[in-house]
Each structure stands twice: as C-alpha cells, then as structure tokens.
C-alpha cells in the first residue's frame, strides 16, 4: 500500500551491527511514539551472537487504529553501515528517506543509482568526535535524527531518554542527550520533518509479549517460576527474576529444562501457583513431565515460545512450527489446554486464564506464542492496577470429608486437590496410573475410570475458554484463518484495506486457543466464508491438519512462511490481489 498519510502513521527502521545499540534506539522511538499518544509496534531482528552480524529494529506507529505488526515499505531508514542498502533494498521505495552513516564508507555511484529512495549522508563518528562524545553514543545520534525527521516531540523525547537510562550515571545520560540533540538539529535547517503526527493522551503501556505474559502471571498471583534460558522466552525469565523483590515470588534458574519443569511441578504440588517457559528444543526435554502433570493432575502453566526449528534451527527468528508438537507432546492420552494469544492484551489475559484453568482443572496449560509476539514491543491498554485473584476452586477443605480420595471419580472429572500440610488430605500423587486414593493400580476398570475422568475435564473447562473471533467485516471475498501472531498481521492488513477498492475484501478468523478445538464455534464462523485461506508460519500447514482432523474440513489454499521471517502486510496483500 503506497498510501502515505503524513498525519496518521509512520514506518521507520534502523539497521546496524549487533553492539551498535539499534535495539535501544528502536525501543525509544516506539516509547516516544507511545508517550505521544500513538499506538506502536516495534519488531526486532538480530543474529544469534553478541557483536557483529546485522541487526534491525523497526517501528510502525499510528495515530488512528492499532499498530500491530511490521510493514515492509519504509518511510525512514537509518543505516549504521553500507550493508543496509543491500539487506533492505526491497523495503526502500521512491518515498523512502535513507539516512546513512557516511563514516562507515561512501555509497558507490552504482549503489546510489540502485537505491530508489532519497539518501542523506550523516558522518556519525565525526560529529561525535567533534563534540567530545564517545562513539557508543551513535545510537542516540541516530535517535535524534529519527525523532526530528519523524516529527516526534523533542521535550518528550528528552524525558523518555532520561527515564530509560535512570539507572545509569548522570554523565552518561547527559552525553546521550547531547548526542541526541546533535542528531535532532543536524537536518533541521535543511529539511522539514516528514510527518506531523498529533499529540494525544499517553494512556498505554509499551511492552514485549514476554512482559505481557509476566504481567499476566503477576496478576494471577504467580508464586514460583523456574526456567532455563532460551530465546525467545528468556525475556520472561529476566522479567520475573526482576520482580522477586516486589512480589511474593521465587524465581529459579534451573540446571536444565527437565529440572525447571519438575521444580514447577513440585512447587505446584505443594500449593504454589507455578510456571515455566521455554522454546522448542527445551520443550522437547520437558515432554515427559507434561505427561506427568496430566496423569498426576498437577497444575502446570508453560509459556512455549516458538522459534525456527528443527533442532537448534534459527535461534533468534520466528516460526509457528511447533503446533503439532505441542498438540501431541506427552506419551499416553495426555490431556492439555493450548492457548494461542496474538496481541499483547491476549498474552496478558490468557496468561491469567492459564493459571485459573491449570489450578481448577489440574492439568498442563500452554501459552503457545512465538518470537515475533514475545520479543516485539506492543502498545497495550493499561490493565487495572488492583487485580483480584479468582477464588481457588477444586481445593480440598480440611474438614469436608473423612475419607479423602485424591483422585475421586466425578462427573466433571475434577477431584478436590489437597496440598501437603493439610490435615486429613494425606494422599499419594502418582505418575503411575492409580486408583482413587492415588495408589498404583493395574486394575482394568480403575484404569479406565481414571483415563476417562481426566478426559472429561476438557469438556468441563470448554465454556471458560475465549471464543474464536472474526477480524474485519462479517462478509469478505477472502477469509484467512489465523492463530497466535499471524492474527497481528491480519489486523493490520484489514485495518489498511478498510475503504480501499483496489483489493478484494478480506477478513480473518482468529483462534485464541486451539485445544480443546472449538469445533462448533469454528464451523459457525467458517459457514459464511466465500474462500478460505490458512495463514501459518510453518511448512506443513499444521493448523490446517488440526482443522481437518477435528472438523473434516480440508483447506486447499495456504499462505505459508518458514524462513524465520514474519509475514509482512505486503505479503498478504500480494497474495490476495
């Protein structure tokens, strides 16, 4: 879409080596935009190394509607080095302005000819040197240039820099501000800002998906988190670790993922609200324990952040390739719930729900997300500051019964759960198949009773799950089916298409959870569709397989991506045209 409205949105990107500080600059651009009342989405790409490589941060910001994903064609591109011209050639159009660090090399005549956008040179290092500033402040110089050209508020930016570096020394903050101002003023005599965006109320949060999950866990009263670092969920480990001082929470960096999930099962068994987080490879190690959670009926919440596999794969890139794996993880008839949040709000709300479901129904509950949603920054409406925990359900009350049965067979499948320390609740919680007391059994009828009891819990909890929903108009030429983070790009596409006559009309059915599969609700949404297209970030169309398995519906048309990159708005528009 080439429609460029100077007063409603901008699409900005910065690129450099790892270590140049592009992620900090990108987060600040998003934060300044947010504080100016805009909605923003900040997508980050980085290689799996600490110094070198090529790293980018980009921000789509909007004053009308929600910015929920990354767009390819840029308004402003800031480059630390020449590599960016090749890497981002397809993102530069004739309206793109490219600001380039001329100290990193001169653009060849040939390359300059190839570049369709307008190129402005800025000697990053020379400018810093002349002003006795450290070369490390180059990212603040880039921020200043960006803020000026994007037409963002100067004063607000200074305040944001100060608050972002509040834990740093005063001299460092001063140097950063000096560098920012150098950048801000550099073009001010020669060019006008590209945009004139309104200043609105600052009412939102800017946070990553990991932080939204962390906030949701805190709101749900999380007491214990154990994990082994792994991209893209390390952010949650860091967030939770930092919250131990303020909340009654214990965070454990475990010896490995098997240790992590078993710490969580132990803590949960003892009555704590407990959670772990990992990615595909780490989750592969946890699988036996998922089965344990299911059979022993120990509440378990797992954030499963997908990245590109198989094996070590592309550690820092996104994918939705683990859906089939998570659906079937666990030997035997393992029961589970799989929530698939897309927006930051969904990450927050569904994490709260995950704790409630896990505790009441005593089974593993997944928050299945991915690198795109978890590591990108989103703007999100502020939740209530005072969060009230839902009442504990299916809890054994010490005096309620004389002969306590831990695995009492009930109609709903849910048995009251005791925790060690409770008078009269003494029982065995067992990884073996067991009788109602918890003692191991091989009796055919008892085994059958327990297997069926656990299966019934999925029916009992179905009404508590959110509903699949439609994004966009009720009727459309093409209906996409999306889950998790692909819903983010569908929102943006549909938002951009409203009022446009150049494209077929598009809507999307978004699944905020995939298991137990909402067959009836899904079929009633699909009923009105003219043409169905599945959109997924994997090669085997894993959701379409699930839909076929659960509904018999075969979806022929598929838009799939499995190169580690997320879908861009343009990818969907191109496909639809």
């Amino acid at each position: 879409m080439e429609t460029k409205n100077p007063n409603t949105s901008f699409n900005w990107k910065i690129a450099g080596k790892a270590g140049d500080g592009v992620m900090v600059t990108a987060k600040l651009v998003a934060k300044i935009a947010k504080r100016q009342g805009l909605s923003a989405f900040n997508y980050l790409e980085y290689p799996s190394l600490i110094k070198g490589g090529h790293q980018t941060g980009q921000v789509l910001a909007k004053s009308v509607g929600e910015a929920t994903c990354q767009k390819r064609v840029l308004d402003l591109l800031v480059l630390f080095n020449l590599k960016g011209f090749q890497e981002h050639a397809l993102e530069i159009s004739d309206h793109t302005l490219v600001v380039h660090n001329s100290d990193a090399g001169k653009l060849s005549v040939e390359a300059a000819k190839k570049c369709t956008g307008r190129v402005l040179e800025l000697p990053f290092l020379q400018l810093l040197r002349e002003n006795q500033l450290n070369f490390l402040a180059a990212n603040m110089l880039a921020l200043g240039v960006s803020v000026y050209l994007l037409g963002l508020e100067h004063k607000l930016s200074l305040k944001t820099i100060e608050s972002e570096f509040s834990d740093k020394s005063k001299s460092l903050v001063n140097d950063n501000i000096k560098a920012f101002n150098l950048g801000f003023e550099y073009f001010s005599t020669r060019f006008k800002p590209m945009f004139s965006l309104p200043i609105g109320k600052d009412e939102k949060l800017l946070l990553t998906g990991n932080e939204a999950v962390g906030l949701g866990a805190l709101a749900a009263g999380v007491q214990f988190y154990s994990a082994y670092p792994m991209t893209p969920t390390s952010g949650l480990l860091h967030y939770m670790a930092g919250k131990q001082k303020q909340y009654p929470l214990v965070v454990k960096h475990a010896e490995d993922e098997i240790g992590a999930i078993n710490h969580v099962l132990g803590a949960s068994y003892a009555g704590a609200r407990a959670m772990t987080g990992t990615s595909g490879g780490g989750f592969a190690l946890m699988v036996e324990s998922v089965s344990f959670s299911s059979v022993a009926e120990i509440p378990l919440v797992i954030l499963m952040g997908q990245r590109t596999g198989p094996a070590t794969g592309l550690p820092t890139w996104t994918a939705q390739g683990d859906l089939s794996f998570v659906l079937s993880a666990g030997h035997g008839d393992t029961q589970r719930v799989i929530l698939t949040p897309g927006t930051a709000e969904e990450h927050f709300e569904l994490t709260k729900l995950a704790f409630d479901l896990a505790e009441e129904f005593q089974l593993p509950v997944f928050i299945l997300s991915d690198k795109l949603a978890l590591e990108s920054y989103h703007t999100m409406i502020k939740p209530e500051g005072a969060q009230v925990l839902s009442e504990k359900k299916s809890v054994f009350k010490s005096d309620s019964t004389k002969n306590y049965l831990r695995y009492l067979v009930t109609e709903s499948g849910v048995s009251p759960r005791s925790v060690p320390g409770q008078l009269g609740g003494m029982s065995l919680t067992n990884s073996y198949e067991h009788d109602q007391h918890g003692f191991a059994t091989e009796d055919a009828q008892e085994v059958k009773d327990q297997v069926e009891k656990r299966a019934r819990k999925l029916k009992a909890l179905a009404s508590l799950l959110p509903k699949p929903y439609l994004i966009g108009p009720a009727r459309a030429d093409i209906t996409f089916i999306s889950w998790g983070s692909t819903g983010l790009v569908m929102r943006e596409v549909i938002d951009q298409l409203s009022g446009s006559n150049n494209y077929p009309t598009i809507n999307a059915i978004q699944l905020p959870f995939v298991w137990p599969f909402p067959t009836q609700e899904f079929l009633s949404l699909v009923k009105n569709a003219k043409k169905l297209v599945i959109i997924e970030a994997n090669q085997t169309a894993q959701l379409s397989k699930l839909i076929a398995q659960e509904t018999g519906l075969l979806i022929k048309d598929k838009l799939l991506r499995y190169d580690g990159r997320p879908f861009y708005v343009e990818d969907i528009l191109e496909y639809a045209k």
Binding site: L205, L215, P248, N262
Partner: protein, 305 residues
C-alpha cells in the same frame, strides 16, 4: 513492597498443636510391600518409618518424593503425603516442594540408577544449591526393577544382561561426588545395621541443607556378587574410629579409599545454611502462606508506561 497484601490462607493448614505425629501403625498404608524376600528395601522402609516416629514429626508435615524403581514402589506402602515422580526427577520436584513450603520435611527415596544415572544433573544441582532435602539412595548396584542391568555403582567388569562381557565404565563413587558438589551432609548406611541406619536417617532429616545418604543394600535376585559376606569384609563404622565429620580433608581420604568402606556420617557442615534460608528473610511464612487475594500491579505498570 508494592501496595498492601491482604493476607489470606488459601490452603487451610491445621494449627500445629492439634497435629498428630506418626506412630508405627498409622505410618503404614493398607498395602503390603511387594519386594523380593531378602531385599534391602525392607530395612530402609522400616528404618525410615522408625526415624519419622522417633522424630515425632507431625504427619502432615512430611512429604516423601519417590523415584522410579523397586525403592520407589515404597510409595504405596507409606501412609504419608507422597509424590511418586518420574524416573530421575524426584530431586527436582523436591526442590520445588521445599521452596513452595519450607515448613515441610522433604525426603527423597530413590535408587542408585535413578539418582546417579538418569537424574545425576538434578542431584548435582540439589547439592550445589544446598537445598534442604534428605536423599535416601537405595544403592544395590543394579537396575533391578528392569531385571538387573548394570548401574552406575556396579563394580567395573561385572557381567550383567546389558553388559554381557563386563561393565567397562569405572564404578561411580557417590561419596566423592557429593563432596565435590558441596553436599553439606554426606553419609553411608548399610541395611544390615538397621539401628545405625535409623540414626543416620534421623541425622539427615534434622540437618539443615542437602543430606545425601547412600545406603548399601542387597539385591538377592540380581546382584549375586555383593552379598553380606562381601560387605562384611569391607565395611567398618566411623563412630568407633572417632572420625571428625567436620573435617572435609579427612572425608576426602575416606571417600577415596576403595578397599575399605566406611559407614556413618562421613562429612557434615553443621553451620550449613540451606537454599530456602537464603531466599526467605522471614522464615515464619512459607511461600504458599504469602499468597494474597489481591495483587497490586501499579508499580509494574508504571515501569512499562
């Protein structure tokens, strides 16, 4: 602290004064043990029960976490709070239990294959963290529930079903391992000495920190090499030797001597501070006691604004 936590006890915990303690009858479940005649598990089972009765521990305050193996089958024979875990993972569960509610006494019951083989990483982590657990290792030098394959503590060269030409690996030395990774209580028991074994279990339970108790036991069905006469030639009691258990260098020397096998407390750091004691400044409230029914998010929201 953020806001005002409204304290509410979600899990109704009894007043300590009314909690009955174990006695020799009520500690047994209705299920009779299924071990082979002559199995060392019987002695560990009865010594543990005796230790818990003698310590006058309130029934509800004990959690036994079992591994998978013949020893783990004890889960069905004890009437206590119990978690029959996965093979190798009992210590990891026990760590979580202790952190969630450090008022519980958490005891791990598993075999040498479970803890020194499948679950070694968790054992090492447990010792390095000095988590306040008592770990009873039923060391019969075989994987017996799976019909007698070689185990980490099997003597090198021993022929078993899985090593028909003899085990090539060196024999695992649990005492050296425990000293290396910083276990603060390292002991060895022997099922032929049940009185001493009971004392060792009691000492392990009352110790503040990670207590490893490696227990020599027979497997009359699958281990025909290590019989009572075999042990009689090698074992001796540290108590009669006046061993100073606080001396780590001496403990090392004992651990490295393979011809003579000491029984008793080999090493104990009586000043040991357990993991949970470093986590919680106030020990009167356990983590689950700190559960609140409202959570104040304001400052967390402010950071993201």
């Amino acid at each position: 602290m953020v806001g005002h936590f409204m304290l509410k006890i979600f899990w109704s915990m009894p007043n300590k004064n009314y909690m009955p303690c174990f006695d020799q009858t009520t500690i047994k479940s209705s299920i009779a043990p299924t071990w082979c005649p002559g199995c060392g598990d019987f002695m560990i089972f009865s010594s543990l029960q005796k230790a818990l009765v003698e310590l006058q521990t309130p029934k509800e305050e004990v959690v036994l976490v079992y591994g998978i193996g013949c020893s783990g089958n004890m889960a069905d024979f004890n009437a206590t709070y119990g978690l029959h875990a996965l093979h190798g993972r009992a210590i990891a569960n026990a760590i979580g239990i202790k952190l969630a509610n450090h008022k519980l006494k958490v005891i791990v019951i598993a075999g040498d294959g479970d803890l020194y083989g499948e679950g070694l990483n968790h054992l090492v982590a447990g010792m390095r963290g000095n988590h306040d657990l008592t770990v009873l290792v039923h060391d019969n030098a075989r994987y017996s529930l799976t019909t007698g394959q070689t185990a980490p503590t099997t003597q090198a060269g021993t022929k078993t079903k899985s090593t028909p030409t003899g085990a090539i690996e060196q024999t695992f030395n649990p005492i050296m391992t425990a000293l290396t990774f910083g276990a603060s209580f390292v002991a060895r028991g022997y099922t032929a000495q049940p009185v001493e074994l009971t004392q060792l279990i009691k000492a392990g339970i009352t110790h503040h920190g990670f207590a490893l108790l490696d227990i020599f036991q027979l497997c009359p069905t699958f281990n025909k090499e290590q019989t009572h006469p075999w042990f009689a030639e090698r074992v001796y009691n540290l108590q009669t030797e006046k061993h100073d258990a606080s001396n780590k260098a001496e403990a090392w020397t004992l651990a490295m001597t393979e011809t003579k096998l000491p029984l008793g407390i080999i090493y104990q750091d009586k000043t040991s501070v357990a993991y949970h004691e470093k986590v919680f400044k106030q020990l009167d409230l356990s983590l689950i006691d700190r559960q609140t029914n409202t959570v104040e998010l304001s400052s967390a929201l402010e950071e993201l604004s």
